[in-house]
Amino acid sequence: MTTAPEMLKYGLIVTLVGMGIVFLVLIGLSYMLDGLKLVSKKGNVEKKSEVVELENSKESATIADVSMEDEGELIAAISAALASYMGSNNKLVVKSIRRVEGNTPAWAKVARQEQMLNRL
């Protein structure tokens, strides 16, 4: 196989076989993934909707008032985070938000920051 026409002929065979195999493998995978969907639907159990009631405490309002200027935005952000974490549920009512002073040592905070930055 040294002349140009012979090589081109072999090239055509490789092209046909190659595209054939690429399509065959990927079409096969595509249908197997369909099958995968059925498997996982069976295994999925519907999530129970849970209502979490948040405690109402008196201190909270005052602390929030003092420390937070942009209250509205903060409340919206916290409520949204809670709603997405517990599965969006219109029964969720945020009655109060209280800042909890952390007792994490400074080293642990640094390590946590590092982990979060690494992930990004």
Binding site: L12, T15, G18, S30, L33, S40, G43
Partner: protein, 404 residues
């Protein structure tokens, strides 16, 4: 010994006196590539090591690429013939073994797998077909390279043509893996062409995409993807490894490592100890291998081989490979659009050429130009990651059929 003679002797040991014109030109080429990587931001992560490797390899008398020299001698104790190393060879010679023996590209795929989310593909299995259609560019370029044999003085053998075609896979590690096995002497030009065109995807693709689609097609908004369960994500890499490697054992190294990386990623959320392995494969291990791979691939760009009309032909064929791949993907997208009654936006087809995630971003951008409220990114990620699997499969086919 006179003073002048020793000065002349010293001057002769300097690189300047031994430099050939090819080496001089290659040093300039490497400086241009460094400029492109640093100032223009052309895939700097890979182009910079490649360019610097090129610079190192073309330094006269430094011998970084030198092979070790062995002497056959008789062992005095046993009387047998043994090889004794008289010269250890250059640094880059030894680092290059990882490319030559096909070790680095699968290791990079391990990291790519650990970074890739195959969720959009699992959610929309049909999009995997777009990743197959875009591989058309590989094979048409392969034929194009063989057709150049009709031009006197510019011939490519079948293994060489296959290595040029794989540029159309728009997948660096795959291209390097295949070329190192089939036509290692072309590694320099092919790697440079592949990575330069990957950086140019945002310029090459949009005109082709716009020419082949109507405005109405570009405006199509696709349905939101369904959420994918943990179980599916775990089974997927195992399934792909089994299917692809059983059909095409030659692709097992690439696909196997890609999927192992992905399995580590998905399993890390079940067993938190696995997180360490995932982080290493997508982080430090990958960075180390990228450095070795880039520098040594660049170092294969030897002046005498690189500065030939064949390099220009490779660069031109590479561009053709990218363009045809993009066109084939978009046309197949149009076909799917017709068959599904207008549910598929043909723009996601161009993402099938891999070049993750750049090609998917291009689909998103062109789609948003037609319809500002359209978000195609996640839909385009499906064909995009399917393109990686597709080009690895195509490489497997070429490896088993063109290794003459």
């Amino acid at each position: 010994m006179s003073l002048t003679k020793s000065i002349v002797d010293f001057l002769l040991t300097m690189g300047f006196s031994a430099m050939t014109w090819q080496e001089g030109v290659m040093l300039v080429v490497s400086l241009v590539l460094i400029y492109l990587a640093l100032v223009r931001g052309f895939e700097p992560l890979l182009l910079l090591p490649i360019a610097f490797g090129m610079l190192l390899a073309n330094l006269p008398l430094a011998g970084l690429n030198a092979e070790p020299i062995y002497k056959i001698m008789i062992d005095p104790a046993t009387g047998e013939h043994v090889h004794k190393m008289t010269d250890a060879g250059g640094l880059l010679y030894w680092l290059y073994r990882g490319v030559k023996l096909g070790i680095y590209p699968p290791l990079i795929f391990l990291g790519v797998g650990a970074m890739t989310d195959f969720g959009p593909l699992i959610a929309n299995p049909r999009s995997i077909l777009l990743g197959a259609a875009a591989q058309f560019g590989i094979f048409t370029t392969f034929l194009g390279a063989l057709a150049l044999n009709f031009v006197p003085g510019l011939g490519f053998s079948i293994p060489e043509a296959a290595s040029i075609g794989i540029i159309g896979g728009a997948d660096g590690p795959t291209a390097i893996y295949l070329t190192a096995k089939l036509a290692p002497h072309l590694l320099g030009p092919i790697a440079v062409a592949a990575y330069s065109y990957m950086a140019l995807v945002p310029l090459i693709q949009p005109p082709i995409m716009k020419a082949l689609t109507t405005k109405a097609e570009r405006e199509i908004v696709m349905e939101q993807l369904r959420p994918v369960s943990k179980l599916e994500r775990i089974i997927f890499p195992i399934l792909v490894t089994l299917v692809v490697s059983l059909v095409l054992p030659a692709a097992a190294a690439l696909i196997g490592m890609l999927m192992f990386g992905n399995l580590l990623r998905e399993a890390a959320s079940m067993q938190s100890t696995l997180h360490r392995l995932m982080k290493t494969s997508e982080g430090e291990l990958m960075n180390i291998v990228v450095i070795f791979l880039g520098v040594t691939v660049g170092a294969t760009a030897n002046g005498e081989l690189f500065l030939s009309p064949r390099t220009l032909a490779i660069v031109a064929l590479g561009l053709a490979a990218f363009s045809i791949g993009t066109a084939a993907g978009v046309l197949f997208g149009k076909l799917m659009c017709k068959m599904t009654g207008g549910k598929v936006n043909p723009l996601i087809g161009s993402a099938g050429v891999s070049a993750v995630p750049m090609a998917a971003r291009v689909s998103q951008k062109v789609g948003q130009e037609a319809n500002p409220s359209n978000f195609l990114l996640m839909h385009a990620m499906g064909p995009n990651v399917a393109g990686v699997i597709g080009s690895a499969v195509a490489a497997g086919v070429l490896l088993s059929m063109c290794n003459l």
